[in-house]
Symmetry: C2
Subunit: 344 residues, 2 copies
DNA sequence: ATCTCATATGAAATCGTTACCATGAAATAA
DNA sequence: TTATTTCATGGTAACGATTTCATATGAGAT
């Protein structure tokens, strides 16, 4: 059917093993032979078949990417796309390829991961999320497939490779930022609370209050799922509180925009009547009006470094598992302003 | 190393070929043997190695995805993510996997495509864009690797599988929509003009004028690259025209939002002083203020159908090449209004 | 001239599956 | 009873590469 290493060998009058050595540019082959073999390869249009190589060399030069169950929506969210871009950039530099899971239920994703790991389609895996009791992670740990997760592991942190932000600190900082602007009643609107990142950010939020000897009211703490249309309800509830918040920390730009729209639909003018901060500094933060002040989690870096870390591990399997914290940066735009009437 | 079909065979006291038949659930094997073999597989933890299978069966059950050169930015743009989601959904249903190109220069993408096709890593390819003189397309045509493109082929249309919108009609419709609202001076702000879609939409724009016996002024036709910060300049130019447009057709939601921001920074209030329509109906169209009236190109469907078409071709290679037009729908939101002073 | 030792290349085993051909036993037909 | 099918399974050669071990050749040392 296609041109194989044997065809090249025959035509160049050498052994298949010699051709193989030419492919890998082995120093044991004379320049003369290399030239001859290469010109034959060119002539008869040879191209390596990776499956043959993988079978014996046991390396696919491919890494698998596992997205959230809600990947149905995670592609929507630029945060994921940006991580993917970072991963993609890094892989390209090292000549690795990407293999994507396509499932959209927890069950089917699990199966796909097993399939791609056991089936030897990938050398390693990057998991784009972190949550407790994840069967995918348990499986990856059992198998000896190297993997790195983006986000802090729910358990066995020290033996797991991960790259993450310091979400506690980031959340603390951004909440404090609002406090410095005079806000005392600050709402926290988190995302899907099953993910680790949600805990950390809520934690940091509380710490900001503790630091000042204040206390956040429980009624200020809310969650909205990216997938459900409950932004309006959460905002309504919040505005109807006796002491309605004057600022909001929303743990994701996308949700922040939904919240802003909900606020506007209640007639509030922004940022005058409500200060908002988002997270991730995605494209939408730049484009919103008012432009969103947000915590840049450097998603591209998150992806890039996770891929680097994984490929490093693949190259040196005996090296100990590292992990990495990517710094966050508060990007100030126009969605937060000094609270007018400080007393009250 | 790992558990192979031979280990199973030995333990179950059958031939490797029998195990292989059990895996594919061949009807030629008795239920009794199947049960026994399966229990052994379970017991010693067997899992198929796909590379071995691919080598002989010559089918990878994987399709490759090729993105624009500007993939650096295409991930940013939700349009691409949504197509990817559609592809992903379809592939998952048929148990196919996805293989992504990671390059970000024209040269490196080309190489990766050759690598994945010649290297037999994929059974077919989906190209997420269309432009003239694309070496990737020439290559795919030369090789006999089935592929489908999203967007109208620049040439040899009838022999190429593609899925596309009727962009000419869509653009005509949406321009006419603005005209019905009383607008006569309408700007067209296209994206990267190297892509086929840009031509079609400009074409439709002109046709809308022709249909009414009007003519679009050349100065109203502009282009902005997603990657460069020239939205403001384009807007400035347009506003400084003697007869500045009162409405704008922007061929992409993302750029539409950039244009809206540029307009606002010039002090215009929207939609009162400028009506805008976008394209693609991405998430950002829903979230913008005013919410963007846009042409829903059904990007998820675009992706979904392209994958279906490709997999169908893979299953029936002799079937003739089909192509498909996905209908577009104008989604009216708040960014377009009746022009106030009709006379003028 | 003989021996040693690189150097360049070849031969063959191997990786994990599948697919073709063969075969023995049981079932059916003559 | 014998011949002919059918059925369930076994044996083994691919598939396309890599890799280990072996070997011929020639250069240099003695």
């Amino acid at each position: 059917m296609s041109v194989t290493i044997k065809d090249v060998a025959k035509k160049a009058d050498v052994a298949p093993s010699t051709v193989s050595r030419v492919i890998s540019d082995s120093p044991r082959i004379s320049e003369k032979t290399k030239r001859r073999v290469r010109s034959v390869m060119e002539e008869i249009g040879y191209h390596i078949n990776y499956n043959g190589r993988v079978l014996v060399s046991k390396s696919t030069q491919t890494i698998g990417i596992v997205t959230k169950v809600s990947s149905v929506h995670s592609f929507d969210n630029p945060f994921f796309s940006e991580m993917l871009r970072g991963i993609s950039d890094s892989c390209h530099e090292s000549d690795y390829s990407l293999y994507l899971t396509t499932g959209n239920t927890e069950e089917s994703i699990y199966k796909e991961v097993v399939k791609m790991v056991q089936g030897k389609r990938v050398d390693g895996v990057i998991v784009l999320y972190s949550r407790a009791d994840d069967p995918v992670i348990s499986y990856l740990r059992k198998s000896d497939c190297p993997f790195v997760m983006i986000g802090k592991p729910a358990d066995r942190t020290s033996e797991t490779m991960y790259v993450d932000n310091d979400n506690i600190q980031a959340s603390l900082d951004v909440t404090d930022h609002l406090m410095k602007l005079g806000h005392k009643r600050i709402a926290f609107i988190g995302g899907d609370s099953q993910f680790e990142v949600a805990r950390d950010r809520l934690n940091g939020f509380h710490q900001a209050f503790t630091k000042r000897g204040w206390k956040a009211d429980d009624s200020w703490i809310r969650h909205i799922q990216t997938s459900s249309p409950d932004a309006q309800k959460v905002v309504d509830d919040l505005l109807e509180l006796e002491d309605a918040p004057t600022a909001m920390v929303v743990t994701d730009d996308y949700n922040a925009m939904r919240v802003m729209n909900a606020l506007r639909s209640r007639g509030l003018s922004l940022p005058q009547e409500m200060s908002i901060v988002g997270f991730n500094n995605t494209m939408i933060a730049r484009l919103s009006t008012p432009a969103l002040t947000t915590v840049d989690t450097q998603s591209v870096q998150l992806g890039y470094q996770s891929a680097e870390m994984l490929m490093d591990k693949l190259k040196h399997p005996d090296r100990i598992n590292r992990s990495m914290i990517i710094p966050t940066i508060i990007v100030e735009r126009e969605s937060c302003i000094q609270k007018k009437d400080k007393g009250e």
